[in-house]
Amino acid sequence: MDYSMWIALFSIAVGTYLIRLLPYLWMKQKLTKSQREDSIATMPTWLTVLGPTMIAAMFGTSLVPANLDTLSWIATLIGTLTTFLVWTQTRSMGWPILCGVIAFGIIKLCF
């Protein structure tokens, strides 16, 4: 890489870091100023709504298989159902994910 490429790379790296850092510092300062014990109550409501909807959106995009064929969709559906069913039984993180991946893998490998 030439000199200008390195500058571009570090600009992106610093920019990405600041996108993650500065809003956090802004909110921290806002919470400190408010001097309340229940800091969640001082957060703007829209922000407390956007957090879970962001995670839901990541879930939605991650559901789309790399190959958009019928088998991949069926494997995704069965993997998701398995994950959900195991979660209802265990209410944990590890087992539902493991069982979901195994169910997804079985459909992909066997059919």
């Binding site: 850092l21 956090y24 991946v101």
Partner: protein, 240 residues
């Protein structure tokens, strides 16, 4: 997303590593792909690894190597790769109430990716205050190292790896939707949130299928928030 504080049965950072382990199934295959594509785009192995160390944002990295390879002007490369990460703006403020005044959080913000945010948003409120920085450090460092390691693997032996073990690309990535499901499903404990989460999920899925992966997350999250505000005062939506 239960906020009840749960006692830790192991060291905080070990618990963080354990909680973040499912992320590897999503990170490593994508990192291998990035390593492979970066080499094919003309970057060296060292340059490819440094991109993953310093930028550490999947979509930005893919866009960076693709735009550079296509000869786009560098200022445009910088602008576009930063725009793609604009959704990260809401992550820090959402976690801020759960983080203490320890200055190490400033450095740790480098590790605040989509997946670490989703994990931390659910897990941090459940942890005792003094365990949170240890937990986050364990989770974030495992994720970062797996991304760097996957990139190195992809750059050095990506083609051979994916040919020999196609499951790396085909099966392991399902760990990511399974993780997100486990994180988000406890939030669906009343009709208002179930509809909000359902709308965000469905809209994101449709946008991704239609070929708009980069706007899918922020736009679907925004639409979900609209659903929330539209329904929250409806008398038929109970249990808020």
């Amino acid at each position: 997303m239960s906020t009840a504080v749960q006692p830790l049965t192991r060291t905080a950072w070990v618990q963080g590593v354990k909680d973040a382990t499912p992320l590897l199934g999503g990170y490593i295959p994508v990192a291998i792909s990035f390593g492979l594509i970066s080499i094919q785009s003309g970057f060296s192995v060292l340059e490819t690894i440094l991109i993953s160390i310093f930028i550490y944002a999947g979509a930005s990295q893919f866009l960076f190597v693709a735009m550079v390879a296509s000869g786009a002007p560098l200022w445009l490369v910088v602008v576009m790769t930063l725009l793609i990460n604009a959704r990260h703006l809401v992550y820090g403020p959402n976690l801020a109430p759960y983080l203490n005044k320890d200055r190490r959080w400033i450095a740790l913000m480098h590790g605040l990716t989509d997946q670490i945010f989703a994990l931390a948003h659910v897990r941090l409120p459940q942890l005792p205050n003094e365990a949170r920085i240890g937990w986050y450090t364990g989770a974030a460092i495992l994720a970062w190292f797996s991304w760097i390691g996957g990139t190195a693997l992809g750059a050095i032996a990506g083609g051979e790896l994916t040919q020999r073990w196609p499951m790396i690309n085909d099966i392991l990535p399902f760990a990511l939707p399974a993780l997100f499901l486990v994180l988000i499903i406890p939030k669906c404990n009343n009709p208002l949130w179930a509809l909000t989460i359902g709308a965000s999920t469905l809209i994101a899925l449709i946008l991704k299928v239609l070929g708009y992966p980069n706007v899918a997350i922020p736009l679907a999250a925004f639409c979900g928030a609209i659903v929330f505000y539209a329904l929250k005062n409806q008398p038929s939506i109970k249990g808020q």
